[in-house]
């Protein structure tokens, strides 16, 4: 009973060049048609969508292709009375979109346009007694929200001074989600998942607590995510997906183990997932492109040293230059 390895094969003729200009065109025209069905159906995550598109363009040195004033106005209009942000003006607030809003405003250096104190207060109130974070007032708990809280406060410059959350409890909750394979899940007892691992390791990196992670054990699990095609999956026995080029690769980078996988192979997989006509990147070769996979493909290529891109920060998924400007120092384990 041999298990079949779930994977895809790259076509010989698949593109091996990085289609920088096509991606700029794809991203800057995305959402121009406000009546497009796909566009309307994604209103519930608009703010994150804006973050994906803007950050991808920023990494492509083309931030100016979007209208800054319109975007900042939109983001500001998403802040609710409680201080948190919804994905669009008439939607409910969530810590997910609060982080996206803050990331977008940091990219434009426009944090002064919103009520920062209220946002900080909002995040503080979402921490529970056990150190975990709820996503909103409905009390869904997930380590993604722990990451959103820590990353948001760090970007707002309120993680250390005047900080409303309990760091120690926050770390203890994250550690209670650690598993036998060194990875992390959504909640205590949840299975390890690369997206969740990125959130937990990212939060620990921001908090300077990476020594809790068994970098050798987790690094081994992460490098085993690479499949013969060069692509990465998010869990054992799953298909490769370009977005894991980000979740897995950035975690490996934080742990100083980027060279534990075949960088060239992954690069070819991402490049093969580009649409050479429309621009943009899909989850895997031949599929339909979207801004989400386009950003994480581009961010992955940046980590792999693609010369046409700005350097990306492995924790915040934003240009390193923005993080430097905000003077944010995070812990990254040395890469040898």
């Amino acid at each position: 009973m041999a298990t079949l390895v779930k994977d895809v094969s790259l076509k010989q003729e698949a593109t091996k060049n990085f289609l920088q200009q096509k991606h700029v065109e794809y991203l800057s025209s995305y959402g121009k048609d406000k009546n497009d069905y796909e566009y309307c159906m994604t209103e519930y995550l608009r703010l994150s969508g804006i973050f994906w598109g803007l950050t991808a363009l920023d990494l492509l040195h083309s931030k100016n292709r979007l209208c800054e004033a319109d975007i900042v106005e939109f983001v500001v209009s998403c802040q609710k009375e409680c201080g948190g942000f919804g994905p669009s003006p008439r939607h409910d607030d969530s810590i997910l979109y609060t982080l996206s809003a803050i990331q977008v405003l940091c990219t434009y250096d426009k944090l002064d346009k919103i009520d920062v104190n209220k946002a900080v207060e909002y995040i503080g109130k979402l921490q529970n007694e056990d150190g975990s974070f709820s996503g909103d007032k409905w009390n869904e708990i997930d380590t993604r929200f722990s990451f959103c809280a820590v990353a948001s406060l760090s970007l707002l410059g309120r993680l250390w001074d005047n900080c409303p959350i309990n760091h120690e409890k926050c770390v203890l909750f994250i550690l209670s989600c650690m598993n036998f394979d060194g990875g992390f899940g959504c909640r205590p007892c949840s299975e390890s998942h690369s997206g969740q691992i990125y959130c937990c390791v990212g939060a620990l990196a921001i908090l300077g607590e990476l020594h809790h992670v068994d970098a050798n054990l987790l690094g081994w699990w992460l490098c085993e995510r690479q499949l013969p095609s060069g692509g990465l999956n998010g869990r054992p026995e799953k298909l490769p997906d370009v977005c894991y080029s980000w979740w897995v690769l950035s975690t490996l980078q934080i742990l100083g183990k980027l060279n534990w996988i075949d960088n060239e192979g992954l690069k070819l997989f991402i490049l093969a997932s580009q649409d050479d006509e429309t621009g943009g990147i899909a989850d895997r070769p031949g599929d339909i492109v979207d801004p989400f996979h386009t950003l994480f493909g581009i961010a992955g290529l940046s980590l792999l040293g693609e010369p046409d891109l700005k350097q990306v920060n492995p924790v915040f998924c934003m240009s390193q230059s923005i993080i430097d400007k905000l003077n944010i120092k995070i812990q990254i384990l040395p890469s040898q």
């Binding site: 009973m1 041999a2 298990t3 390895v5 159906m41 519930y44 995550l45 919804g86 008439r90 939607h91 409910d92 969530s94 909103d136 409905w138 869904e140 997930d142 598993n179 036998f180 394979d181 899940g185 959504c186 909640r187 007892c189 949840s190 299975e191 390890s192 998942h193 300077g208 607590e209 020594h211 068994d214 050798n216 054990l217 690094g219 081994w220 699990w221 490098c223 085993e224 690479q226 013969p228 060069g230 869990r235 054992p236 026995e237 799953k238 100083g256 183990k257 060279n259 534990w260 996988i261 075949d262 192979g265 812990q331 040395p334 890469s335 040898q336």
Partner: protein, 500 residues
């Protein structure tokens, strides 16, 4: 309510709509009687189920289901377990469903034993199910805890699990789920904290203490000649957590007298004798193999030997299987590293070929083993360590050798000296020539470093030498045969003073 239903049927990730319904239910609860509410909640559960069938990975759907169950007067948990069974049949790896299952079992007090049975069934039908193995790793320690470590399982159960997982990888040696689980079974818990070394200075009277694990605050008990001292430990590193701690002694030492200084933390104690006519004394904990056993060593030797035999058997049946080979390496390392050293090395070499995507993982593992062997075989009280000519791709374990004055890492394959050397605060001479080093950022703040040899490396950026500015005792730096030498004119003159 009907409109939000239509919207959610089209897109179940629309979380504001679920929130809208939650608000509505909370309001209705204040108006309707129990029976009316029951039927509304039942309908809602049915609606959620239809949404889940379209989108079984919707965070919002599963969370809304939790909400409904928590607000029902008499929730039918049994029915929910059946729903989980059903959804896990569609997709046995759906982590949302597994999480919901744990929510249900927690609220309805399903005994862990019963859940172990569920994983038994799933694994029996298909070994290759990572989610089930994962669940077992959480359940078994609760039902069969190891008396010494609550995160692990007792010996008898461990043996049964090893047999089960062996069945799995003998059936399909390429099934990675079984191998990850196997590695966990043979692993061990957290490393204990202990004091690696003490360094005592007579004047100014002070003590350095080095710890195995870094800590944020250190409150080790320090005593001089059996009298406990009140001391303030400070970390000498800029990191938030530190291996290295320093304190001043208020009362100091009596001139020309012998003193015994001891430090104690958790169950570890180390004592150092400052002889009457000495200015400084150093003591290192003798380092044995035990300290390096991070994985594959919890089990008794006999168990490990049995596992080794089985894996050897499998290796004969399936030559060239990377999972078998790596497990063999780990087991040989745990059973008898010395006896198997040649075979371990050959296997790791073969793995770099067979599994070339992860080549660097195997090279780093080999480097780690080589360094461990060297540390174990060196008398550290001589304060010298030679790990040259071993094809090392990484340096590790520096926190265990803080008293070194001489370190030779030359003639290896190192590309970066990025690990912090600042813990090596006695280090005077570093020989790092004949590597492929491009980056030396780890050489910041090495307080007593006098001489560095970086000949024949790949340093091309003159800025790299900026890091050495913080090594205040540096007298001699040799950088012959580096790309940077070809453009020597660019150098700041301060560095030229030290050139050989």
């Amino acid at each position: 309510m009907e409109i939000t239903k239509l919207l959610l049927a089209a897109n179940s990730d629309y979380s504001s709509m679920w929130n809208y319904r939650k608000n509505a239910f909370l309001h209705l609860k204040t108006l309707k009687n129990e029976d009316e509410m029951k039927s509304m909640f039942d309908n809602e559960l049915q609606f959620i189920e239809s949404c889940l069938r379209n989108n079984p990975k919707s965070y919002g759907c599963w969370h809304h289901r939790c909400f409904v169950m928590l607000h029902m007067m008499k929730p039918n948990w049994e029915r929910e377990l059946q729903l989980c069974d059903l959804f896990l049949q569609f997709d046995e790896r759906n982590f949302h469903c597994w999480d919901y299952r744990r929510f249900v079992t927690n609220h309805s007090n399903v005994p862990h034993e019963k859940e172990i049975e569920v994983t038994n069934k799933i694994i029996a039908s298909n070994f290759s199910n990572y989610s089930s193995w994962h669940y077992r790793s959480k359940l078994l320690p609760q039902v069969y805890p190891d008396p010494t470590d609550s995160k692990r399982i007792e010996e008898k159960k461990l043996l049964e699990e090893l047999e089960l997982v062996q069945n799995a990888f003998f059936t399909d040696p390429n099934d990675q789920s079984a191998w990850f689980y196997h590695r966990w079974l043979l692993g061990r818990g957290d490393k204990e904290q202990y004091i690696v070394s003490l360094i005592v200075n007579r004047s100014p009277p002070s003590v350095f203490c080095c710890l195995r694990k870094p800590v944020k605050m250190f409150n080790g008990t320090l005593s001089v000649d059996d009298t406990t001292q009140t001391v303030d430990w400070t970390s000498s590193m800029s990191e938030r957590y530190s291996h290295l701690w320093f304190c001043k002694l208020e009362d100091g030492f009596k001139k020309g007298q012998q003193h015994t200084v001891s430090c104690e933390v958790e169950s570890s104690k180390l004592s150092c004798c400052l002889e009457e006519n000495c200015q400084k004394a150093t003591v290192c904990l003798p380092i044995n193999r035990e300290m390096f056993q991070d994985h594959t060593s919890q089990a008794k030797l006999s168990v490990l030997e049995d596992e080794l035999n089985s894996c050897n058997e499998l290796n004969d049946l399936e030559p060239g299987n990377k999972w078998v080979m790596l497990t063999l390496v780990l087991l040989m390392r745990a059973v008898s590293p010395k006896q198997h050293s040649e075979k371990i090395s050959t296997m790791l070499d073969a793995l770099t070929e067979i599994d070339s995507q992860r080549k660097r993982y195997y090279l780093d593992l080999r480097s780690k083993y080589a360094i461990e062997d060297c540390i174990v075989e060196t008398n550290l009280n001589e304060n010298r360590l030679n790990i040259s000519g071993m094809k090392l791709t990484q340096i590790c374990h520096l926190e265990l050798v803080p008293t070194l004055t001489h370190l030779n890492i030359s003639h290896n394959c190192l590309q970066n000296l990025t690990v912090p050397f600042a813990n090596l605060f006695c280090l005077e001479v570093l020989e790092a020539n004949d590597n492929k080093i491009t980056n030396i950022s780890g050489l910041k703040d090495v307080p007593n470093l006098k001489s560095i040899n970086l000949d024949s490396n790949d340093i091309s950026d003159v800025k790299q030498f900026e890091y050495l500015k913080t090594c205040r005792c540096l007298e001699k730096l040799s950088i012959r045969s580096n790309p940077v030498c070809e453009s020597e004119k660019q150098f700041p003159t301060t560095f030229l003073l030290h050139f050989q």
